[in-house]
């Protein structure tokens, strides 16, 4: 069955430190992959997406993610975290071909220490 796994439920980093949030997916076909961010009291906002082509994609707020087919991964990275990045991050895979639904991981909650 198709699934998305985010192994880290909660991560704490210091402001200015680098960040990597892990995401693994299980899907037979070439996936469309997404990272969304949910800040406290706000709706989900798209950070970045991968459809095809260059496996390193850039997103908003200085985030990037790399698609690695061999590892079935789509990890999110940021070289220097800001306090405002504290939020919950969701990885998602879009199931096309008649399914047309976005399947989300359980999320990773990021806390940023000053």
């Amino acid at each position: 069955a198709q699934s998305v796994t985010q192994p880290d439920i909660h991560i704490t980093v210091s402001e200015g430190a680098s960040l990597e949030l892990r995401c693994n997916y299980s899907y037979g076909a070439t996936p469309y992959l997404f990272w969304y961010v949910q800040s406290p009291g706000q709706g989900l906002q798209l950070l970045l997406k991968y459809f095809s082509g260059d496996t390193l994609v850039q997103g908003i707020k200085g985030f990037e993610a790399e698609f690695k087919r061999s590892q079935s991964s789509f990890n999110l990275r940021k070289p220097s975290v800001h306090w405002s990045d504290a939020a919950e991050y969701f990885c998602a895979v879009f199931l096309s071909g008649g399914y047309n639904k976005l399947i989300f991981g359980a999320g990773t909650r990021l806390a940023v220490h000053p």
Binding site: Q6, F34, Q42, G43, K49, F51, Y99, N100, K101, L102
Partner: protein, 115 residues
């Protein structure tokens, strides 16, 4: 408005009551989704509407849950005889349709608390 609008933003109800949650998608978006986000959980797919096609109801957790979409626009999610386990944030999202590549635009959600 320019975004997906949901109402009410907060709803407190007693166990056994029925509730209706409304979603107004972005104008021109033919695809509409409902998700449920429970405390500490990811987003659980509930139902998907595409234009005038029959909806994909595969995610609805029980027959107490139903949804409709009138005129291809506004959608209402109805929960009958609410239970405490129905307490969650219900998120609506829309997108441009069948040719879309999965980018969904989300509303801010309706937080349901069942006492």
């Amino acid at each position: 408005g320019a975004g997906v609008s949901q109402s009410p933003s907060n709803k407190v109800t007693e166990k056994g009551k029925d509730v209706e949650l409304r979603c107004d998608p972005i104008s021109g978006h033919t695809a509409l989704y409902w998700y449920r986000q429970s405390l500490g959980q990811g987003l659980e797919f509930l139902i998907y509407f595409q234009g005038n096609s029959a909806p994909d109801k595969s995610g609805l957790p029980s027959d107490r849950f139903s949804a409709e979409r009138t005129g291809g626009s506004v959608s209402t999610l109805t929960i009958q005889r609410t239970q405490q386990e129905d307490s969650a944030v219900y998120l609506c999202a829309s997108s441009v349709g069948l040719t879309n590549t999965g980018e969904l635009f989300f509303g801010e959600g309706s937080r349901l608390t069942v006492l």
